[in-house]
């Protein structure tokens, strides 16, 4: 088993009356890339700040390599941090920025020179060494920040919304590059993001955070295909959640119809269950059949490649679906349509059912 590098034990952080992080437990393994994913205000950045040592926890302990670092100031934690705004020193050249951590470690000048060169090469910025950060594009600044955080070979790399400040086109390229660098260096990485695509594409494991707690922790595929709670399902893009009652191990009644649900887990007969389904898995159906429900279209948004639709079942529950264009038939609000919900498209949510929207 791979050793644990960073561990949070019951960490809580209050800001006045607001509990930003709530009794959080988390163990990050050697060499893995873990994403803290959640909406703003979910406590993900505070968690990162706790690990970096920028804010002390109100309660709980923080361990790095088994050593309790809760009371250790940031400059003694030996971590590399890349800030959302990059936080490059404007009065120093790119080279001096990258050399900053090495100089603080009092390495010999020749060694600093060599390592800065290597780090700039790693992020493909060999030629920008003499420039000031303000003269560089956002993507280049990002790479300088990364080089600066990696050059002294920190134990852990922390990234705060690493791609948020880049425009969309740059973001995808940078995401691939970031992943390649993380893999080649093999450094344990924790990064914060509100973008599920970023988390899915970049990490080995994702911790979905909500209200200062981890709602679900797992591999990207697991999070995506088997969201455990309504919040995770919603956040990860499965925005339709249907409430029903299990009438058999694989059957649920919703809005008077019985749906076959092949979730892999037998359902407890008689229990209330929540079923999540992604809009793109719902299909329009030409006639009645298995797993077909009737619904009234409430709204349509034409998106070019597809049309996003909101529809309501007879019992008032809402279903989102997206129909690939060109649509098989002319659709309009107020129209009643039949929808096919494939048995294997359902995700059964666990935990106490949340209140319907």
């Amino acid at each position: 088993m791979t050793p644990t590098v960073v561990e949070l034990r019951g960490c809580t952080r209050d800001y006045g009356p607001v509990r930003a992080v709530d009794a959080l437990d988390l163990a990050v393994q050697e060499g893995e890339c873990l994403a803290l994913l959640g909406p703003s205000g979910c406590g993900k950045t505070t968690t990162l700040n706790l690990i970096a040592g920028f804010v002390p926890p109100t309660a709980g302990r923080i361990l790095i390599d088994g050593a309790d670092v809760t009371d250790r100031p940031p400059h003694l934690r030996g971590l590399g941090v890349v800030f959302q705004s990059y936080a490059l020193f404007p009065h120093l050249s790119v080279r001096e920025n990258v050399a900053f951590g090495l100089r603080e470690r009092r390495l010999p000048a020749a060694e600093i020179e060599r390592r800065v060169g290597d780090a700039l090469e790693l992020v493909r910025l060999e030629r920008a060494g003499r420039q000031r950060p303000a003269e560089l594009s956002g993507g280049m600044q990002q790479r300088v920040a990364l080089a600066r955080a990696l050059v002294y070979r920190p134990r852990v790399l922390l990234l705060d919304e690493p791609l948020a400040a880049l425009d969309r086109k740059l973001r995808e390229g940078m995401r691939d590059e970031l992943r390649a660098i993380q893999r080649s260096v093999g450094i344990t990485t924790i990064f914060v993001t509100h973008d599920q695509a970023e988390a899915l594409g970049l990490s080995d494991r994702i911790a979905v955070m909500h209200r200062g707690r981890i709602e679900q922790l797992g591999a990207p595929r697991e999070i995506y295909e088997r969201p455990a709670t309504r919040f995770v399902a919603d956040f990860i893009g499965a925005s339709t959640v249907l409430r029903g009652r299990a009438v058999a191990a694989d059957r649920v009644t919703v809005a008077g119809a019985t749906l076959v649900v092949t979730s892999g887990r037998p359902l407890a007969v008689g229990a209330d269950v929540e079923l999540a389904i992604r809009p793109e898995r719902v299909r329009l159906s030409t006639g009645p059949g298995d797993n077909v429900l009737e619904a009234r279209i409430e709204g349509l948004v034409y998106q070019g490649a597809q049309t996003d639709m909101t529809a309501r079942l007879s019992d008032g529950q809402r279903v989102l679906l997206s129909v690939r264009e060109p649509a098989p038939a002319q659709l309009a609000a107020g129209q009643t349509v039949r929808m096919h919900l494939p048995p294997d498209a359902f995700m059964v949510l666990m935990g106490e059912p949340s209140s319907p929207r």
Binding site: P73, R77, G78, L79, A87, F100, G101, A134, A149, Y152
Partner: protein, 258 residues
């Protein structure tokens, strides 16, 4: 058109006294009359030759240097405390530290005089230095404060994460980024201190008096263009200091974050 005229008129109104002083300083005759009746440098020679002016000039330099050297670090700490510290009644502190002395100069001078007399310091320049520190401090705090507000604390966090101790963070990140504010504060301190008169008049004697006080004493006793010549020199020096510093500050502005 009217706007331009108004600006020109206003500018003339503001600069005419200065122009008159400079013109009179070249007057060959021993009266303060305008326009001058010729062109002569004899009053400038007189300024340099007059021993009391020399002594006062040295005093001015010493007092200003000491006051600036004390006010700059004190003002910087105050600015940092105002912006970063957990202060009770921050706005009150800020109002007090940032407003130049609202007490009339005469009252402040009297206060310093009574204090200095009580402490037996009237013969020394130290009381002048103390008074000047108090007078220039608001300008220093205000200048540095602007830079402190422009300083992103994330930069200091970044430095700490890179292994810098709090002192090293201050030396390598905070201080360099406060440079524009420090220069502006130094400039203000020098100009205000060099030109201070009312308070200094109360607390100096023939031995310790600074240049503006010496000039006043001279005018009380003699009325010849020597004082105009010295005033002209004063104007030129002050102008040069401001101009050079402004150039340098603009250079420093390059290092400011956009």
């Amino acid at each position: 058109m009217i706007a331009r005229l108004a600006v020109v008129a206003l500018l003339a109104f503001m600069t005419v006294p200065t122009v008159v002083v400079i013109a009179v300083s070249f007057n060959p005759t021993a009266i303060l009359s305008f326009p001058p009746s010729g062109l002569s440098l004899r009053w400038y020679a007189n300024v340099v030759a007059y021993p009391q002016f020399r002594r006062a000039a040295v005093n001015s330099l010493l007092v200003t240097a000491a006051a600036a050297a004390l006010a700059l670090p004190a003002g910087t700490l105050a600015a940092l405390a105002l912006e970063r510290g957990r202060l009770r009644g921050r706005s009150v502190w800020a109002a007090m530290l940032l407003s130049p002395l609202v007490v009339p100069g005469v009252a402040a001078g009297l206060g310093f005089l009574i204090l200095a007399a009580g402490l037996g310091l009237l013969r020394s320049r130290s009381v002048l230095v103390a008074a000047h520190v108090a007078l220039v401090l608001p300008f220093v705090v205000r200048s540095v404060w602007v830079s402190v507000r422009n300083l992103d604390p994330v930069l200091e966090r970044a430095a700490a994460s890179l292994g810098a101790t709090p002192w090293r963070v201050f030396r390598r990140v905070t201080l360099p980024l406060l440079r524009p504010g420090l220069f502006a504060g130094l400039l203000f301190a020098v100009v205000v201190s060099l030109n201070e008169f009312v308070v200094s008049l109360f607390i100096s004697n023939r031995v310790t008096e600074i240049l503006p006080v010496a000039m006043f004493t001279y005018v009380v006793n003699y009325t010849d263009p020597t004082i105009a010549a010295l005033s002209s020199l004063f104007i030129v020096v002050t102008f040069l200091v401001v101009w050079l510093a402004d150039r340098y500050l603009n250079l420093a502005g390059v290092f400011l974050r956009p």
